[in-house]
């Protein structure tokens, strides 16, 4: 059973599309493993749809499209739709569906399938594949720990997210299962150990970064804290 889930606030920001890519990847991958959160996300999407579309008084009042919109529609009706059908989309590229590290293979959650374009790098039992999210404030990676391995104790200035994707590991606090979503702040340190090996997704060194929406990120006071 998954014991650790993203907080409601994170799920809500995720549905609004206001989290950074690194964090939305984590929520999406967690929900793929966690039916409870998937159901919550479905409900939140319905609520957000209603809040966005139904309270849209402007469109309720104006019956006709404005001229810009009318000409876009006319253009699509006359040309674009036919062009789209005449040029079928590229065949769907499902990306990387599985990763193999040290002879262990793991299926990848859907969210990561187009993110894998680097090599695994590592020392000893710990291997890391950095994801290029383009975010300067955080580092997102897939992390593999071979059987009987551990991550040396480490500290971080900001928060650290660890999402267990496959396998198991334990730290001072608990034993974790695939899907467990652990968000630790700078006051917590941990040194996970695994008996059978595991694959995780991690985001590190992101003070105030990934738990806030874009609007807060653009706040200059936030920048000073880095």
């Amino acid at each position: 059973m998954i014991k650790y889930h993203p907080q409601h606030e994170l799920l809500s920001l995720h549905i609004k599309g206001e989290l950074p890519l690194s964090m939305s990847l984590a929520i999406s991958a967690h929900a793929e493993l966690c039916d409870i959160c998937q159901q919550k996300l479905n409900r939140l999407t319905e609520c957000e749809t209603a809040a966005t579309f139904d309270n849209n008084t402007e469109s309720n009042i104006s019956v006709d499209l404005d001229s810009e919109m009318s000409s876009l529609l006319a253009h699509m009706m006359q040309d674009t739709l036919d062009e789209l059908d005449a040029n079928p989309a590229q065949p769907y590229n499902e990306g990387v569906t599985e990763v193999t590290v040290k002879d262990q293979s793991y299926p990848l959650p859907r969210a990561f399938r187009h993110q894998i374009n680097a090599q695994w790098q590592g020392i000893g039992k710990v291997s890391r594949l950095r994801l290029n999210t383009g975010e300067e404030q955080s580092r997102a990676s897939l992390l593999h720990i071979a059987p009987q391995g551990e991550i040396p104790e480490h500290t971080h200035k900001g928060s650290e997210l660890t999402l267990l994707l496959a396998g198991e590991f334990s730290d001072e606090y608990n034993t974790y299962r695939p899907g467990d979503f652990m968000l630790l702040d700078e006051n917590h340190q941990h040194s996970p150990k695994t008996m059978t090996g595991c694959l995780c997704y991690t985001i590190v060194d992101a003070p105030l970064y990934f738990t806030k929406g874009f609007s807060k990120l653009l706040n200059p006071i936030g920048e000073l804290l880095y």
Binding site: I15, K16, G17, L21, S24, L25, S28, N42, T45, E46, E48, T49, T52, F53, N56, E58, S59, N60, S62, V63, D64, L65, E68, M69, S70, L72, L73, A74, M76, M77, Q78, T80, L81, L84, D85, P88, A89, P91, Y92, E94, G95, R110, A111, F112, R113, H114, Q115, G134, E135, F214
Partner: protein, 216 residues
């Protein structure tokens, strides 16, 4: 300029006019369509590549998307881009929509939010990537996407309508040729709306089967 302007609501179910009507569209006076109407429009876009239905969806959702874009993308002046990109995907990805999984408005919201997410990344991180649909799937099964071509059907679909079993034919003709709503058909035939839906689904599946045989 073709006439996309409003006509009276009574005309909406003007029998048989719509099937022949290919461009000069009729739209009801109000933009607010209910969930059932939206689902029927999506089905016609997905299965028949029906532009008239697309125009109705555009009229319904366009202003809503624009308002959302004005909030999120205001500084970038990209609201109209968001309308165009979102409605383009409504057309090209309509086959991924499933009435069983969510309301049309929820699906369009998902398409729009994903698109907006990718556009914001482009602006803020200068990233030309598109991860929105990986993070928030559009309900598809994976094979639906790879079989995309199988689901892109034209009006020629209805050529095979006579090959359907009578009960399914009755429903498909009612919806697509006589332009009745599912509720109207249910009332007329004295059957539950769920039965209308399931016969329609079976009929369309069968029509797709005919098409595949003929165009393999």
């Amino acid at each position: 300029m073709e006439n996309f302007q409003s006509q009276t609501a009574e005309n909406r179910y003007d029998k048989a006019s719509l099937a022949k009507n290919n461009g000069a569209t009729q739209l009801s006076n109000t933009n607010e369509l209910d969930a059932e109407q939206l689902a029927e429009l999506m089905l016609k876009v997905a299965n028949l590549r029906c532009k008239v239905s697309f125009a109705k969806l555009f009229k319904h959702f366009g202003p809503k998307i624009s308002a959302f874009g004005n909030q999120r993308l205001h500084q970038q002046g990209l609201a109209m881009d968001l309308v165009q990109e979102t409605m383009t995907r409504v057309w090209t990805k309509a086959h991924l929509y499933s009435e069983d999984k969510a309301a049309v408005s929820t699906w369009v919201f998902t398409v729009m939010r994903n698109q907006c997410f990718d556009m914001l990344r482009k602006v803020q991180h200068n990233k030309e990537d598109s991860f929105g649909d990986d993070i928030w799937p559009l309900f598809e099964s994976d094979d639906a996407e790879s079989n995309e071509d199988d689901f892109k059907l034209s009006g020629t679909l209805l050529r095979h309508v006579d090959e359907l079993p009578p009960l399914q034919r009755q429903i498909v003709q009612g919806i697509y040729m006589q332009e009745m709503t599912q509720q109207e058909l249910a009332d007329k035939l004295g059957i539950p709306i769920g039965t209308v839906k399931s016969r329609l689904r079976l009929g369309l599946e069968k029509l797709k089967g005919f098409m595949e045989k003929h165009y393999d």
